[in-house]
Amino acid sequence: MGYMLNGTDFEADEEGYLTDLSVWNPDLALLIAQSEDLEMNDERWEVVNFLRSYYDEYQVAPAIRVLTKALAKTMGPDKSSNEYLYTLFPYGPAKQACKIAGLPKPTGCV
């Protein structure tokens, strides 16, 4: 599968993760979110932005705990639990949010 945005085709793997991470842009994020039946709101953008800046520095997605701690700082402690993240991304913050952020899927026993 892939994504078509303004006449350009963006390649993705079987599960909808972009194969070329460098092509990501906010419009593409919206489109990926839409294909996941999610509407982007401020909270979801907050997560996606954090994932991207973390990835920039560490070349990998952050541990859930790192993500929730970072969100506690910016969004308040009530919006920082793993459970809350699942309300934002029902299929899991690590996997679904990474897809929207244009990052590779976390692999392994997760």
Binding site: G2, Y3, L31, M40, W45, R65, T74
Partner: protein, 555 residues
């Protein structure tokens, strides 16, 4: 907050714009295969309703799982493991040759092929059969997918009278069946416990996957992960910098909680112990809570330890794909790291199949470990280490910290049936329970036919813990989940503790289908982390004060 909601914040190079909320016209996601929504609502048992037996034999549903196939590995996942990138032209010839090679190398495989007496003892022992009703998931039927090809090419009767002896050509249809049903076996070995002639279906499954890999039909999930271990050092692909940063965060957290400097060292030369743990312990919940537990136990024991970035993975998916070479190459990293860090002891974290590889195969794969201290087990399990500390009276617990949990324990298959712990029979069953009883006031075992050597797989083991097999995973979890539903009704059990990264990740995903919350799965060392009272900690002072204070009612 303006910055926080700005999608450009992470990428300053992009033109600044308000965050879009809806896709622009002309944006489409290319046809996504429309997966029919599965209905699992029948799996939730209402309060007071009888829970069906975990071992209840289902009606046959022929072909029910014939469409279940994991994604096939692409060339970039295959070649780093030494396998062809795609299905080779002469695959049939190659596959038969590889089968001959394996039959010669592993005499056990030949014995398994010849010794089945079709007694039927295994038929209702597989969780995937019980959960799906697909007759091909009866262990004997799964073996027969392999056996019919074996008979055709390696037995006289099969060569001359194939139809009479159930022999079949290795056609593309058969290869397709193999790919489907050998990826519906989690190599948990429950069936082998009941087989009167001792056939181990896991070995047959491994051999089948090895043959498929050798003709270019590998499974993406497992093979991509093994490639990451070779490239970065662990299944998740966590580079050293990310590991250190996560460990720093945990040290801060523990300091805040206890007031103590509990260290989580990485690549520290000269440490006494090297801890090899699944990389999920550095990433996922509840895994990471277990890591906090290990660190606290090491701290209290006063023994120096370290993690290694080179051997930052306990898991060894080389076993799942039946590849000796890949299993060895993953294992060798542990030897290299132990030598480099000049450690004296090797301890493994909570990972089921890693412990089987470590306990049963490590010495022949990557030994001899004659440079380690022979006074300690080589290797040792973290559960064994903690039990030893408990027995020595070195650990103090405040069990009331875990009073919000009513616990049961899930024996992970590779620990239960593929290894042991300590020098007592059944140590692998008793040690984790001893820890839970020491740290938690409410512990109840599930039905005896579902625990210890009869334990049911979580439904995601053996390289099947992948989203493309989610339907299989949910159905395969049914026997374990029914056993848990029983103790939930009978004893008010709320949580399940485990010592395997795969089990923990699997239960997080499948428990909601059975009416439990996703965080109803816990790490065993999470219970330790919650209850342990470290010397000199905030908790120790509070507990001492409480004990010193006059008891209410005595005044």
């Amino acid at each position: 907050m303006a910055d926080a909601v700005n999608p450009e914040a992470a990428k300053p190079a992009m033109p600044a714009a308000a965050p879009p909320k809806a896709p622009t016209a002309g944006a489409t996601a290319a046809a996504k295969p429309a997966a029919p929504k599965k209905d699992y609502s029948a799996y939730i048992i209402a309060k007071g309703q009888p829970v069906p037996s975990p071992t209840e034999i289902p009606q046959f549903k022929c072909g029910a799982m014939s469409d279940s196939k994991p994604f096939v590995a692409k060339s970039e996942h295959q070649t780093p493991l030494g396998f062809p990138g795609e299905l080779v032209d002469n695959w049939q010839e190659k596959a038969v040759a590889k089968m001959g090679d394996l039959l010669g190398k592993y005499r056990s495989l030949q014995v398994y092929m010849d010794s089945c007496i079709k007694c039927g003892a295994c038929t209702d022992k597989c969780h995937y059969f019980l959960g799906t009703g697909d007759p091909n998931n009866m262990p004997v039927a799964r073996q027969d997918l392999f056996r019919k090809v074996y008979r055709r090419y390696f037995t006289t009767a099969g060569k001359w009278f194939p139809k009479l002896v159930g022999a079949e050509d290795f056609t593309e249809k058969v290869l397709d069946e193999w790919y489907t049903y050998f990826h519906q076996c989690s190599q948990c070995r429950r069936c082998s416990v009941y087989c009167p002639v001792g056939i181990d279906t896991a070995e047959v499954s491994m051999a089948a996957r090895e043959i498929m890999d050798h003709v270019g039909k590998g499974q993406k999930y497992s093979n991509e992960i093994i490639g990451k271990v070779f490239k970065v050092g662990n299944n998740l692909g966590l580079p050293k910098k990310a590991i250190r940063s996560t460990l720093d965060g945990l040290e801060e957290e523990i300091k805040e909680e206890t007031g103590l400097d509990v260290r989580l060292p990485l690549d520290e030369v000269g440490a006494e112990i090297m801890l090899v743990t699944p990389s999920a312990d550095l990433f996922a919940e509840p895994h990471i809570q277990g890591l906090i537990g290990y660190a606290k136990v090491f701290h209290q024991a006063g023994i120096s330890w370290t993690l290694s970035s080179h051997a930052s993975e306990a898991a060894n998916f080389g076993m799942f794909i039946g590849s000796y070479e890949n299993m060895r190459n993953v294992s060798l990293r542990i030897r290299e790291a132990a030598l480099e860090l000049k450690v004296k002891r090797l301890v493994f974290g909570e990972c089921g199949h890693a412990w089987r590889v470590a306990y049963s195969f490590l010495n022949t794969l990557a030994g001899p470990f004659d440079f380690l201290d022979p006074r300690y087990p080589i290797p040792q399990h973290i559960v064994e280490f903690t039990v030893d500390q408990i027995n020595k009276g070195n650990l103090r617990f405040d069990k009331s910290q875990n009073d919000k949990y009513r616990l049961t324990f899930h024996d992970s298959c590779n620990v239960a049936r593929g290894s042991r712990m300590g020098d007592v029979e059944g140590g692998q069953f008793e040690f984790p329970r001893q820890i839970l009883r020491a740290t938690c006031n409410h512990f109840y075992d599930m039905a005896p036919e579902t625990i210890k050597e009869a334990t049911f797989c979580c439904g995601g083991g053996g390289g099947l813990l992948t989203d493309d097999l989610m339907d299989l995973r949910i159905k395969g979890a049914q026997p374990r989940m029914r056993a848990m539903q029983q103790v939930a009704q009978d004893h008010g059990v709320t949580h399940l503790a485990a010592i395997c990264a795969i089990c923990k990740a699997q239960f997080t995903k499948v428990m909601p289908a059975y009416g439990f919350k996703m965080d109803a799965i816990l790490s065993v060392h999470q219970m330790v982390a919650n209850a342990i009272v470290l010397d000199g900690s905030i908790q120790a002072k509070a507990l001492d004060q409480k004990l010193a204070a006059p008891q209410i009612g005595n005044a």
